[in-house]
Amino acid sequence: MKILIVEDNERVARFVTRGLREAGHTVEHANNGRDGLFIAASEPYDVIVMDRMLPGNIDGLAIIETLRKSGNRTPILILSALADVDERIRGLRSGGDDYLTKPFAFGELLARLDALGRRPVESGGERVLLVGDLRMDLLSRKVTRGARTITLQPREFKLLEYLMRHADQVVTRTMLLEAVWDYNFDPQTNVVDVHISKLRSKIELDGEPPLVRTVRNAGYMMCEHE
């Protein structure tokens, strides 16, 4: 993916740039708001990472608003030290697509950028999700693996749907908490892991190839095993 990072903190920018390049992405960096707006407006990117507080008389939210007004719909992830719920809401209202608070784990950023960059611009058309021989019918809400029908609780269905929609991408526990349960706090116990293992026990019977992989220090990934 081609990613633009607008971030004034050199250390953070270097760390993110190096990490994303290692993950195989093309990365460009602007260290102030004016350059950021100029570069974002003049070249197409798959995802933009935008710091909120920037030098150069224009802050991150203003850049996003300007871009959106000019018709630019590139997915934008806002990076900010402001963690309040209100700030998060302001960020998303200004036109951002995701909000990550500093400090962050790199795996979390990578997973979220992946999800944003591959997010279909117009979604909602599909009726069926497929990963390997696992099939989810979104209208009849039926899940089958091969010939076997799988019965899921509503929340398990939502969890599996999210994983399948983000197949071949890493999804973090925080992303799952936000998307499936709508919780923006971290439970102390490994509740998400337990939910995943319960789901696994339903979709991966003995002898069936596993579909959900645990990614160390990051989260989970649903994929058809090689």
């Binding site: 719920v85 349960w181 919780y183 923006n184 971290d186 439970p187 102390q188 116990t189 939910h195 319960k198």
Partner: protein
């Protein structure tokens, strides 16, 4: 006196006195006017009739008959009450009971009523003068002295009313100011003591007047401030102790790496452990920021009608697999719709903290039960009960303090902020967190005002 004049009591008293004066004037001025009009008009009527009668005598018998008539009248009358005078065209007296035509009265054609003072006589006299054919001037008057005592009493009454108003005003100002000063200085002293650091002082709030109401409101504010300040104190102490420990660990790990330069595999393990330490510190900071956000009350603006039972059902469903995995008997008693005004995410977080705590401390095969319901008094209760080790009575008041960790929770994951957050959430919603004995175990319940 100068200070009294500048006080609000003096302003109030002055206002009252001025109002009183205005009311008095509104009462006295029309009365005085009506009195004068009635009395003077009545007298004038009499005098005119008198003058006409005398004119008739003149017309019938000429000047000699009138002179004789007047002389007879003067001789008959009680002196001083009625004044009669007949003069020729040059104002030389012909008959009557005064010696000369009063200079204050000029003769005019026709009969006019005039008020005048006569030399040598007390009080005013009302005159009617008439010019008779042949240039003779006739003056008929009546002394008003008889009415003077009534008028005097009226005036005295008015003056004493004004004086009374002033006295009551000044005295009232003085007394009110004294009472106000006493209450205000109570408040001032208490606030002074609080500013000097004695945070436990409260205003006297006995009675049911406005000051008591104000005092109670201020006391509520002081409770809140004391709580916040204690929170800040605790946080500073805790940052010193609890945050330094993981930071010290990170530092020693990194320093050791730099000094010993171990083989890569070992180094990576150390680095990962250091990252985990930093994550722990970040977790604490996030929880502290969350607490600060809740304590600020800013979230209250986003309150909506929330069914606590539904929130609880979702959180319970969320934790069910985790409880199952640990072999804990996890039950949920749903007492039906339990509406509160609140923030659903915060309520979910509070309940999830309580369940987290219970899950951490109950033994395998233990029991946790969550209960939500509306109480008879309308309050909504969200309770988590377990059969774990519970909290010692001595520790209960401290359990909601930041970074407090009871003996039972030492060695379990967590940073000692869970119950602080629950407590803050309960208070944000206008409720309380109660920690009760479950015989054995702990029953932690949030009691929130219902809606």
């Amino acid at each position: 006196m100068n200070r009294l004049l500048r006080s609000s009591a003096a302003t109030w008293a002055l206002g009252t006195v001025l109002m009183g004066l205005a009311a008095l004037a509104a009462f006295a001025i029309p009365l005085w006017y009506a009195w004068n009009a009635t009395v003077t008009a009545g007298r004038q009527e009499l005098l005119r009739e008198d003058a006409q009668r005398l004119s008739a005598v003149f017309e019938r018998g000429g000047i000699s008959a009138l002179t004789a008539h007047i002389d007879a009248r003067v001789a008959m009358q009680i002196a001083g009450e009625r004044t009669l005078l007949l003069t020729d065209a040059a104002y030389q007296p012909l008959a009557g009971n005064i010696a000369a035509w009063p200079q204050t009265i000029s003769a005019r054609a026709g009969s006019n009523a005039v008020l005048a003072e006569l030399p040598g006589q007390n009080g005013r006299t009302l005159f009617v003068e008439a010019t008779l054919p042949g240039g003779y001037h006739l003056l008929v008057g009546r002394d008003l002295a008889r009415l003077a005592p009534v008028e005097q009493r009226f005036t005295w009454g008015l003056v004493s009313a004004v004086l009374l108003l002033f006295v009551v005003g000044v005295l009232g100002a003085f007394l009110i100011r004294r009472a106000l000063l006493a209450r205000v200085s109570d408040i001032g002293q208490t606030v002074g003591a609080i500013m000097r650091g004695d945070l436990h002082r409260r205003l006297p709030s006995g009675g049911s007047d406005e000051f008591a109401t104000l005092s109670r409101t201020l006391n509520g504010m002081l409770d809140h401030i004391e709580h916040l300040i204690c929170g800040i104190k605790n946080v500073s102490n805790s940052i010193a102790h609890d945050l330094r420990t993981p930071l010290a660990e990170v530092r020693s790990r990194l320093e050791e790496l730099a000094l010993t330069r171990p083989p890569p595999a070992e180094a990576y393990a150390e680095i990962e452990a250091a990252v985990a330490d930093v994550d722990r510190v970040m977790g604490m900071f996030n929880a502290l920021l969350r607490l600060a956000e809740i304590d600020s009350g800013a979230r209250r603006s986003g309150f909506v009608r929330v069914d606590a039972a539904r929130v609880a059902a979702e959180v319970v469903e969320f934790y069910e697999p985790a409880a199952e995995e640990k072999g804990v008997v996890f039950s949920f008693l749903n007492g039906g719709e339990a509406p509160v005004a609140g923030d659903p995410v915060l309520l979910a977080q509070a309940l999830s903290n309580l369940i987290d705590n219970s899950l951490k401390c109950v033994a395998e095969k233990g029991a946790i039960s969550v209960h939500v319901g509306r109480r008879a008094d309308g309050a909504v209760e969200i309770a988590v009960a377990d059969d774990g080790p519970g909290i010692a009575d001595a520790d209960k008041p401290k359990a909601t303090e930041r970074f407090f960790r009871g003996d039972a929770s030492r060695g379990t994951p967590g940073v000692g902020l869970g119950l602080s957050i629950v407590d803050a959430v309960a208070r944000l919603h206008g409720g309380v967190l109660q920690l009760l004995d479950n015989h054995p175990g702990l029953r932690a319940q949030m009691v929130l005002p219902g809606r």
